[in-house]
C-alpha cells in the first residue's frame, strides 16, 4: 500500500468525505454510551456527591486540548520538514477544535472549582498553563488569518506551533512540579487508577467520543481548505462543475 497516495489532495478530498460520517456517527454513539454510564451507572461520589459528574467532560476535554496540540505540532513539523501541503492543512484544521476543547476544559473546571474549592478561578499552575494553551491556539489562528499568502501563513503558524508545544509537558506535570490546588492525575499508565471502575469507564468512553468527534470535524474542515487551495486543479474544477 502506498501511503503517499493519501497525501495527495485529489485523493484526500473524496476519502475524507467518505470518512467524516463514520467518525461523526461513532462520536455520537460513544457520547450517548458515555453519558449513560456517567449519569445512570456511575455511583455518587462519597466526597463530592453528584458534583463530580463534571469529570465526564472535564477530563476528556482537558486530555484532548493537550493531545490535539501535540498532533498539530507533529503535522507542523512534518510540513516544515517535507513541505507537504496536506500536513499544514491538517495542522490548521485541528486548531479551532483544540481551542474549543481548551475552552471547555477551562469552563467546566470553573464550574467544578466553584462548588468544591469555593472559587471559579485561581492562579494555580495547572489552570494558568491551560489558559496559556488557549492563548496559543487563538494566537496561531490569528497569526495565520493575518498573513495573506497561505504558504507563508502555513510556515509561520507551524513555527509557532512548534515553539508552543513546550507548554504541553508544563501543563501535564504542573500538578507534580508545583503545589497546586488542582488535584494530581487520577489516571496514569504506571499505577492503578484512584477511582471507581464505572467512573473510569465513563470517562474513557467520553474521551473516545471526543477523539472521534475531533477526527470528524478536523477532516471536514481540512476538506474545505483543500478544495479552496486546489481550486485551479483539474479535479477541483471538475468537482465544482459537476455539482451544478
Amino acid at each position: 500500500m502506498n501511503l503517499y497516495r493519501y497525501a495527495s489532495p485529489a485523493t484526500f478530498h473524496p476519502l475524507a468525505g467518505r470518512l467524516v460520517p463514520w467518525f461523526a456517527g461513532l462520536a455520537a454513539v460513544l457520547a450517548a454510551v458515555g453519558l449513560y454510564i456517567g449519569f445512570f451507572v456511575a455511583p455518587t461520589d462519597f466526597q463530592q456527591g453528584e458534583g463530580y459528574r463534571i469529570i465526564f467532560i472535564h477530563v476528556p476535554a482537558a486530555w484532548m486540548s493537550m493531545f490535539i496540540y501535540v498532533v498539530m505540532a507533529f503535522w507542523s513539523a512534518i510540513g516544515l520538514a517535507f513541505n507537504t501541503r496536506l500536513s499544514f492543512i491538517l495542522a490548521r484544521a485541528l486548531a479551532p477544535t483544540g481551542a474549543m476543547f481548551t475552552f471547555v476544559a477551562l469552563w467546566t473546571g470553573a464550574f467544578w472549582g466553584k462548588p468544591m474549592w469555593g472559587a471559579w478561578w485561581v492562579w494555580d499552575a495547572r489552570l494558568t498553563s491551560e489558559l496559556i494553551l488557549l492563548f496559543l491556539y487563538v494566537g496561531v489562528m490569528a497569526l495565520q488569518a493575518a498573513i495573506d499568502d497561505p504558504r507563508r501563513a502555513d510556515r509561520a503558524g507551524a513555527l509557532l506551533n512548534l515553539v508552543g508545544v513546550i507548554n504541553v509537558p508544563i501543563i501535564y506535570f504542573s500538578v507534580k512540579w508545583w503545589n497546586t490546588l488542582h488535584q494530581g492525575a487520577s489516571v496514569s499508565l504506571t499505577r492503578a487508577p484512584s477511582m471507581a471502575e464505572t467512573m473510569l469507564w465513563g470517562m474513557l468512553v467520553m474521551a473516545l467520543a471526543a477523539w472521534m468527534y475531533t477526527i470528524a470535524v478536523a477532516l471536514a474542515r481540512a476538506r474545505t481548505l483543500v478544495l479552496e487551495r486546489e481550486r485551479r486543479t483539474d479535479w477541483a474544477r471538475a468537482l465544482l462543475e459537476g455539482k451544478a
Partner: protein, 57 residues
Amino acid sequence: MNWESWQAFWAMGGYGLYVWGSFGMTALCVVAEVWLVRRRRVQVWQKLRRMQAWDAQ
C-alpha cells in the same frame, strides 16, 4: 439506578447549576462548531463556483 425521580436528576444533589452549566456549555460549543464548519463549507463552495464561472468568461 441513581435517581428517584426526574426532579432529583435535574437537581443533581444540589449541584444542578454546576453540572448542567458544564454539560450545557459543552453541548453549545459542539453544536456551534459543527454549524460553523458546515456553513464554511457551503460558503466556500459557492464562492469557488462563482470564481470558476468568472474564470470561464
